[in-house]
Symmetry: C2
Subunit: 498 residues, 2 copies
């Protein structure tokens, strides 16, 4: 496990220590940056050792990552009371509960923006923890299955702990495109005009003097738990594939489509699986996360190239990638998240963005983050970077859930992450609404008619009609009634009138 | 007035006709594109002639512009029943009323996105009406005081009517930077790395075959009505200038600041005026609209360069610009609105964006468009392009209005245009809240304490505390009560408890 050949910079082997020793480097109120994006390339040892330490003493840090961590690390840190503030994203059940109780602060950010704050506003990162495959002769580090914010952490942190993961083959070298944007006002353009363009180096620059500890691990990433397609996700995917085929027919898209971004989860997987059939070819992805379906599409010859910030896949796919790195190195690239999610690249490439909504409303506003307007689920993630700037911004969700007691289409969303200006297409298992160029009153009729669960359709229409009559406006609403469905659910356990 | 020397393309003089003759080219259900951005460079004759014609026959069009029109044109068109749908922006009282009654459809769009839809999705423009200073030998046209969407209209419209405005001197040539983005998937980067970089040509390409009519006019733009600074705008500007000075002290900004974007209106004017004092120098603007204050700052030597899509100024400033075109041509540039508002340029340049809110809430969500959640005021304009992608996104508003019966800070905004992820700094006449890096519960306390009108502070605090206790969550709210202030205003004429 302690494979010293992975420390190619002379002198650094002295920095090797155990995770518990490294954890002594943390102190109360530090700002910590950690690698990890959607469970990929995260610290496997040191953050857990920090949690152990924090159980027995007052030790709370602000923890900034790429995105979510794996291996219950966020849960352990939360339980040990080790977190004062967490940013910019999380998906952990235990952590979420503490955030919603107000015990841990959570700064929920557009994933492209965290690096801006690290370079321009946040207090300096005191200590960074970065997983690496190995350390190069020049002290630079080769990351593993994600890049996330690690480039910015390495550039700005006062001290860095490297976790060398020997479960990741050194042949991962070349999978990354490491590009550090110039600080303002000296920033130049990012010359990426297609998903496969590489503009940077293969390892992350790091001043070896800043390396305070090197810890070895041999643990793979937490596998993605991918629910198999079910009737609903299959229906959503079918509506979407049908829409794409129609766009091709009208000449607005070609069979090559445009670069795809797909949010995590089973719907995205189902849509990508749907692209295997049909005439689509020479596809590309410019996304945040690569899932199993990405690799299936590559293997089937449909997907030319995929760019993202992380690889989050099942155990078997993980193995398949590592066994075939020579092939995949020509087909995928991992970038810093401020590049994978750069607003200008999303607009320039003309991305087709597919993300999931928790709920949406009759005018096409989308809530991606909050249950009942108050309780955070995960966070906005990259959905805001993509939805605002994409060529086509698509949101998908089931029309109803929990034995249809909850309608995901509402008079008004209880929290707005994406407003009607940002949402081009809505899809549920019942149908698809193409909202481009439409005014709110047109949107309402189309959304209700195409996307509502039948049990809720009449009442939605009635709300819309009464709002038009009673209050009028560009966006008719009866404010006293707008959240009544949420209230009914809380009081009676269902959104249905009894 | 009919100055034929302004038609430098041989043969085109045959196309000269009156506005009423040109108006015969419109037909029912056409899609019409028209120049004009914030009252600048709009059609002075033909659209009014269209309104006259529509009074007497069924003639309704979809009208797409750059942004708002001057000279009551939108009012006349609305009154004549000539509009089926309007996009992407308007500011007209009469039109607004018809939109809010549901008689005219209004598609309210991010100003950078309309060109994307014109090239990629909307039905072709049947007829465009574009104001020009003159027509070049090659048939290309030199625009006047705005560029807006005219480049896209000229490229895609089936037929074009040119309005030559002889009130605009031909010496305006060289003020514009005309750049047409490649269609997907062939789009390249826009090599602008500073406000003053020019990347295009000086006139708008146009196939002379498409010119269906040429109409002469000699009317200047509607002047901007600039309210003089008052106690509130002066207070807001002072808080903001103080904030900038502090950013310079901490080293996060230099005295050159970063390129400024400023929304229209008196607050923006007051802030820019404030920059004349103090140590700021070598400033630049990368904005949508240039107002009087821009030219004052240029003349005082503080502002190095200003880029925008239009010039909307008072009558005297208009004259001053035309009298000194040789000077200003080196100091300002007008671009297409998908370039002035390009997401990638806003991020790349590190814009400081200052826009106005109608209302905002305790978590920092902003409503820029809807009164009481239903009635549109103007539209989102470019505020969404800038707020999402800027380095610093600032929103300003008075804390209360209408003899303080209306609080502009609320438990929950009645409509969300900019969510908490997009809003870095909030300023009212009572103070400023710097929200960067803060979680919602932290934001709430800071916003209420720094920005609330004193008459409303206690009740806002009470709402927040009760929401934390009663409902908890990342973003505590009591949904049944969230809009109660709006309801109270509607029912009692004031948001104050009586
Ligand atoms: C939005 C998001 C949470 C959806 O996740 P998902 O698991 O695919 O969505 P589902 O519809 O299956 O689940 C939503 C849950 O909320 C519940 N829910 C929805 N509306 C509700 C309401 N009003 N009250 C209570 N519960 C509600 C559903 O019942 C469902 O519960 P379950 O998980 O117990 O079944 C997830 O995609 C996300 O975090 N997105 C934000 C980040 C992002 O988009 N990143 C983009 C790139 S990675
Ligand atoms: C938001 C916007 C309408 C603010 O305009 P403004 O005139 O500077 O703002 P004010 O605060 O003076 O006016 C807001 C009005 O709404 C009223 N108002 C605010 N909240 C209200 C409420 N809840 N109920 C009723 N009226 C309300 C105010 O009383 C005020 O009325 P008045 O005009 O009769 O005085 C304007 O900036 C805009 O259209 N912005 C969107 C476009 C944009 O931002 N573009 C950016 C680049 S140009």
């Amino acid at each position: 496990m302690k494979d010293l050949s992975r420390i190619r910079r002379a002198g650094l082997e002295q920095k090797v220590m155990t995770a518990d020793e490294a954890a002594l480097l943390f102190s109360h109120q530090m700002v910590v940056g950690a690698s990890g994006f959607t469970k990929a390339g995260d610290s496997k040892e040191v953050l857990k050792a920090l949690a152990r330490r924090a159980k027995n003493e007052t030790l709370q840090v602000t923890l900034i990552t790429g995105a979510s961590l794996g291996h219950d690390t966020d849960a352990r840190l939360a339980e040990a009371n080790a977190l004062y503030k967490r940013m910019p994203f999380q998906v952990d059940r235990v952590l979420r509960e503490k955030i919603n109780k107000g015990n841990i602060l959570f700064t929920d950010q557009h994933l492209s923006e965290t690096a801006e704050l690290i370079h321009g506003y946040l207090p300096y990162i005191d200590l960074a923890v970065i997983e690496a495959a190995y350390i190069e002769e020049d002290g630079s580090i080769v990351p593993t299955t994600s890049v996330g914010n690690s480039v910015s952490f390495a550039a700005t942190a006062k001290k860095v702990i490297i976790e060398i993961n020997t479960a990741v083959p050194c042949e991962i070298y070349g999978l990354h495109d490491i590009f550090l944007q110039e600080n303002y006002p000296h920033r130049n353009f990012i010359p990426i005009i297609s998903a496969e363009v590489r503009v940077g180096r293969k390892s992350i620059a790091l001043d070896p003097e800043k390396i305070a500890a090197i810890v070895f691990t041999h643990q793979t990433d937490s596998p993605a738990d991918i629910a198999p397609p079910d009737a609903k996700t299959t229906a959503i995917a079918a509506h979407l594939i049908n829409f794409f085929e129609n766009e091709v027919k009208t000449g607005r898209l070609t069979d090559r489509l445009l670069p795809l971004q797909a949010g995590i989860g089973k719907v995205a997987n189902a849509v990508l699986a749907g692209l295997e059939k049909g005439n689509f070819y020479d596809l590309s992805m410019y996304s945040e996360v690569l899932q199993d379906s990405t690799f299936d599409l590559i293997d089937s010859g449909k997907l030319r190239f995929a760019s993202a910030s992380s690889i989050t896949v099942s155990e078997s796919c993980y193995k398949r990638i590592f066994d075939n790195l020579d092939t995949y190195r020509e087909k995928i690239v991992l970038r810093p998240q401020n590049i994978s999610n750069a607003p200008g690249l999303i607009r320039r490439l003309g991305i087709i963005a597919i993300n999931t909504a928790i709920e949406f409303d009759i005018y096409g506003n989308v809530n991606s983050t909050h249950i009942a307007g108050t309780h955070i689920m995960n966070g906005i993630g990259g959905s805001g970077d993509f939805a605002r700037n994409a060529y086509l911004s698509i949101f998908v969700t089931q029309a109803a859930s929990k034995e249809d007691k909850i309608s995901h289409l509402l008079p008004m969303v209880s929290h707005v992450d994406h407003n009607e200006h940002d949402v081009d297409v809505l899809v549920t298992d019942f149908g698809l609404a193409d909202l481009r160029g439409l005014a709110p009153r047109e949107r309402a009729l189309l959304i209700i008619n195409n996307c509502a669960h039948p049990d809720y359709k009449q009442e939605l229409l009635s709300y819309f009609e009464r709002a038009c009559e009673l209050r009028q406006g560009q966006t008719p609403h009866i404010l006293e009634e707008a959240f009544s469905w949420h209230t009914r659910l809380r009081e009676t356990g269902t959104m249905k009138r009894i």
